[in-house]
């Protein structure tokens, strides 16, 4: 099958962007409650390693093993997030330092690497992996085939999740409460909303999403375990939330854009295209583009953090209201 570069890039943008999307949606929920979590990279790695471990060790048929793996990954991400939640919500520590601590604790030189080592996960490829849902005949359709039908179930779930998060934030009572907690915790508290509980719940949910994002990489894209396999995806996800103006539908667009950038190198290589030091600039491109887009967003809008939760980054202390 020979598709044009554009179609291939869009299709692979969706594939490679899915972990970014999960992680960004999770971070969005946490930030909407007013808690910045810079530990996404660490939580993703823990999710990645635990999901992979489940698949290698659980003796069950493929569907069950994969479902369990995603569950374990989500749980593991939430457990790591709970450390951050306790430190910044209950103990009122600096959200920036605590988030960095989470990434150092769980990250490429931390717990995820330890677990991967301890379980000997680096030796074998995954026993069960996610495959495209639709039959191959669908995928042969021009353009729509590779873009819409050539994906695993996690991709379609993530689409549903974007809609769900959007509905949650704009159409449901708890979602509106959440926005109140993120924008004006004092007023929310006066309204009788439990600010602390909301923040805990959404930081944990964010961790679970990040865990799933990690499992998406080890079970759907790379299907193996390598230390630091996320390669900065967690940080790109944090940046994504900023330039999606804290809106789930824009997270989707941004995630696929960055997903496509990640696939640029192999695609260009496969087509024998060389533009200057290709190995350098194609690898560095996603990171450079993150900076560029971030600059555009922060420079262009007069209201710098359009849509940013007003109380982002500040602990809520009822006594100081």
């Amino acid at each position: 099958m020979n598709h044009s570069l554009a179609v291939v890039l869009i299709a692979s943008g969706i594939t490679y962007g899915t972990p970014l999307l999960y992680a960004a949606l999770g971070e969005l929920l946490a930030e909407r409650s007013g808690v910045l979590n810079l530990g996404v990279e660490g939580m993703m790695l823990i999710g990645a390693v635990m999901g992979f471990w489940t698949v290698q060790r659980l003796h069950a048929d493929t569907g069950l093993a994969l479902a369990a793996a995603v569950g374990v990954a989500a749980l593991a991400g939430a457990v790591v997030a709970s450390i951050h939640a306790f430190l910044v919500i209950t103990l009122r520590a600096s959200q920036i330092v605590s988030g960095l601590a989470v990434t150092i604790f769980a990250g490429a030189a931390g717990l995820s690497s330890y677990l991967g080592n301890d379980f000997n996960l680096g030796e074998n490829p995954a026993r069960h992996t996610f495959h495209a849902v639709f039959p191959a005949s669908f995928q042969r359709w021009p353009i729509v085939g590779p873009i819409v039908f050539d994906h695993n179930v996690l991709v379609y779930v993530s689409w549903a999740l974007v809609v769900a998060v959007w509905l949650y934030l704009t159409r449901t009572r708890p979602g509106l409460n959440l926005r109140a907690v993120g924008d004006a915790p004092g007023a929310a508290d006066a309204m009788g909303i439990d600010v602390i509980a909301y923040r805990y719940a959404h930081v944990l949910a964010g961790g679970a999403f990040a865990g799933v994002a990690g499992a998406t990489i080890t079970l759907g894209i790379n299907t193996q375990w390598v230390d630091g396999i996320t390669n900065g995806a967690g940080w790109i996800a944090i940046a994504l939330v900023i330039f999606a103006f804290w809106r789930p539908e824009l997270c989707l667009v941004g995630a696929y854009f960055f997903g496509a950038l990640q696939d640029l190198q192999p695609e260009l290589q496969a087509r024998g295209i060389h533009l200057g030091p290709t190995a350098l600039w194609t690898n560095a491109l996603p990171y450079v583009m993150t900076i560029v887009v971030l600059v555009l967003v922060s420079a262009s809008s007069t209201r710098r953090w359009l849509g940013a939760p007003a109380a982002l980054g500040t602990p809520y202390v009822r006594e100081e209201r």
Binding site: L38, I83, L87, L91, R92, A93, S94, I96, V97, S98, L100, A101, V102, I104, F105, A106, G107, A108, A109, G110, L111, S112, S113, Y114, L115, G116, N117, D118, D227, N231, G232, W235, I236, I238, A239, I242, P277, A279, L280, N283, A284, Y287, V288, T290, I291, L294, V295, S298, A299, R304
Partner: protein
């Protein structure tokens, strides 16, 4: 000054690259060793500072979040380092000899570009590399800068209350850029010290310098030292020892990841402990709702 430079890792790589360039260039000409070393120190600082200027300028002029930009540049610097040795015929790469034709390697630094070490004769000799001496000096200078000069005072005020600083007529942008540049220069110096003190080449091996995460550990050190340059010396010694112990203990019983785990736990504990610094905990029994009147037993 509430400016988070998470890009120490990348600035260290760039400092190692520029430092190695200076070492190869000036060390190879047969000039005095001190001159080559001084050139490496300056080049390392300049490289790190230049790399840190990118997030600094973006922050100062576009108010772009410096945490994310500096962090992204870590990956870019890492790819640049790998590229220079593995994917190009750069100045740093060894291009002649048998080994170089089998596996890409970097040029060894000439002898006059190697940094001397002072050996202290306790417990069979402890080598104090030149980089450690420079670090002492840097810490002292930073301490003076932040506690005794106008620059340091203004930077502190800017961190505590940007508004007050602006009303007082302090130059916010200039200070942000200067602080980032200084921060990057020190990280770059660390990279040059890696070249001269320890690795004696530009180390691009994926299991070499890039696996040590010095830049990230540096953040742990700074946070644990509560941003006091003199305390940094002590904490750096502790964390460095921990990391090195991790490296030499590595094996079946001590997998590599434990270093990060321990650092993380220390950080968590220190962060949690901050609560006790800022608040006084008073244990008071929560008053129960008024007890129901006990039935009189008369």
């Amino acid at each position: 000054m509430r400016l988070f430079n998470i890009g120490g890792e990348g600035q260290l790589y760039i400092g190692a690259i520029t430092g190695a360039a200076a070492g190869l260039y000036f060390g190879g000409n047969g000039g005095p060793s001190a001159f080559a070393i001084a050139a490496m120190v300056i080049a390392g600082c300049a490289g790190g500072a230049a790399w840190a200027l990118i997030p600094g300028i973006l922050r100062a002029f576009f108010r772009t979040n410096e945490i994310i930009t500096s962090l992204m540049l870590n990956y870019v610097a890492g790819y640049l380092l790998t590229f220079l040795i593995f994917n190009s015929q750069s100045y740093w790469r060894q291009t002649s000899g048998f080994n170089a034709s089998v596996f890409p390697t970097s040029k060894d630094l000439p002898n006059s570009a190697l940094w001397p070490a002072a050996t202290v004769h306790v417990h069979g000799g402890v080598a104090l590399p030149l980089g450690a001496g420079i670090a002492l000096l840097v810490a002292a200078v930073l301490w003076v800068l932040y506690s005794r000069t106008r620059f340091g005072f203004e930077a502190t005020v800017l961190g505590d209350s940007p508004r007050a600083a602006r009303y007082a007529g302090m130059r916010t942008r200039r200070k942000i850029i200067a602080v980032m540049a200084i921060s990057g220069a020190i990280a770059g110096l660390g990279g040059a010290s890696q070249d001269g003190d320890f690795r004696h080449t530009l180390d691009a091996d994926p299991n070499g310098m890039q696996r040590q995460f010095y830049g990230y550990s540096g953040i742990v050190v700074a946070a644990l030292a509560r941003y006091n340059p003199l305390a940094v010396l002590l904490v750096a010694f502790l964390i460095g020892g921990l990391q090195n112990a991790g490296n030499s203990l590595q094996g079946a019983d001590f997998p590599s990841g434990l270093v990060g785990v321990i650092q993380g736990i220390i950080l968590f504990s220190a962060l949690g402990g901050e609560l006790l610094v800022r608040y006084r905990i008073r244990v008071s029994r929560r008053r129960r709702p008024a007890p129901e009147p006990a039935p009189e037993a008369t």
